[in-house]
């Protein structure tokens, strides 16, 4: 068994485990379908890439890299893309939480004012 085959098998196993983890987390409602699909895509790309490692060899030679290195670089790039997307989502969520908290405080104050005024109006 060649070293390239063993490395490909290991990468493929990583892809499968990532896919299983994504599906499991989604079934437990720990992550939304949107992110489950994203991580599943990374797993599938890794799996397919490992199987198609020989096809990557010409690209690897172009950059003086091994096929395994090119596959790992690709998978890393996908994960960086997901991490950036998550940063954008979290930033948006922080802004939304802030808006809601401020609106809550202003509405609670308005309610207090109305409740204080209500007995006098009655």
């Amino acid at each position: 068994m060649s070293a390239a085959f063993r490395q490909g098998a290991l990468i493929a196993l990583g892809g499968v485990l990532l896919g299983i983890a994504a599906i499991t987390l989604a079934r437990k409602r720990l992550i939304t379908l949107r992110y489950a699909v994203g991580w599943l895509a990374v797993g599938i790309v890794t799996l397919v890439g490992a199987a198609a490692a020989p096809l990557v060899t010409p690209i690897a030679k172009l950059f003086s890299m091994t096929a395994t290195g090119v596959l790992l670089a690709g998978a890393t790039g996908l994960m960086v893309a997901i991490a950036i997307q998550l940063s954008i989502s979290v930033s948006g969520l922080q802004a939304q939480v802030r808006e809601l908290a401020e609106a809550h405080a202003l509405l609670a104050n308005r309610l207090d004012e109305l409740e204080t005024r209500a007995p006098a109006d009655a």
Binding site: V97, R98, A101, E102, H104, A105, L106, A108, N109
Partner: protein, 257 residues
């Protein structure tokens, strides 16, 4: 005609001092809104019993978040100006008059109360922190187009239309509500002034300024300054009041929201 002024006091676990601060402000005749920033103590009850309007945030947002909530309250209730004031007693109510006088005299949109401008020695600030404050002051001065000596002062007056802009967009991160607000306002063409004030020691508690956070912020400040990455406000429609030196907006045009 005197401006309709609201004093906004952001407070996080300041139950030991906020009642004294509010009472002092009320004695001077100011309307006071305390923004309880997710406190776990009796800050809200203390402030309310002392005569303040209390806005209670359900979670801790940080000083900038509390201030924006106060600015929104002021805009919704038709106030012309907000004076922001700390809940720990460092900003005596007497000094607010100096800030308001400076605003009335100059027509500035943002007036900073400075610890370092007057004849008195000011507050005792450690050497490394003072160095950082000087760096911030230099960047703020460039943005404001006039000398700023105390860019991290939390005693300041904000007048409309800048108040409307800050009610819409205001940073929550560490010290973003002080230094960055000056930089953004100055670059957008709003008039920034500074006046000497005397500040008092804290009535209780400790400063939230941590050395590591301060270091991170310094890095941020440089990035904000060089990269124009501050929060966004619409540019001022420049109509300088008479009797003050004319100044053209210094900043580049910002994207309209």
């Amino acid at each position: 005609m005197s401006a309709h002024v609201l004093v906004v006091v952001p407070a996080w676990n300041e139950g030991a001092s906020v009642a004294d601060v509010v009472s002092d402000l009320r004695r001077h005749g100011y309307d006071v809104a305390v923004v309880d920033d997710g406190s776990t103590d009796d800050t809200a009850a203390q402030a309310r019993s002392a005569g303040a309007t209390v806005l209670t945030l359900p979670i801790n947002l940080g000083v900038g978040g509390a201030l924006r909530c106060g600015f929104r309250y002021a805009v919704e209730h038709g106030y012309d100006m907000v004076v922001q004031c700390d809940a720990d007693g460092q900003h005596p109510a007497d000094e607010i008059a100096a800030v308001l006088d400076a605003q009335a005299r100059t027509g500035a949109h943002l007036v900073i109360g400075s610890r370092f401008r007057g004849d008195e020695p000011g507050m005792d600030v450690p050497g490394n922190r003072r160095l950082a404050m000087r760096l911030l002051a230099r960047i703020a001065s460039t943005a404001a187009g006039r000398p700023i000596t105390d860019a991290s002062s939390g005693l300041r007056a904000i007048a409309r239309p800048l108040l409307d802009e800050f009610a819409r967009s205001y940073p929550v991160h560490y010290l973003g509500d002080t230094f960055e607000a000056i930089v953004v306002a100055g670059r957008a063409g709003y008039r920034v002034e500074e006046v000497a004030v005397t500040m008092a020691p804290r009535l209780s508690g400790q400063s939230s300024a941590r050395p590591l956070a301060a270091l991170v912020f310094l890095g941020r400040a440089v990035i904000v300054s060089l990269g124009g990455l501050g929060f966004e406000v619409r540019r001022a429609e420049v109509s300088e009041p008479t009797g003050v030196d004319e100044r053209r907006p210094t900043g580049r045009r910002r994207r309209q929201p």
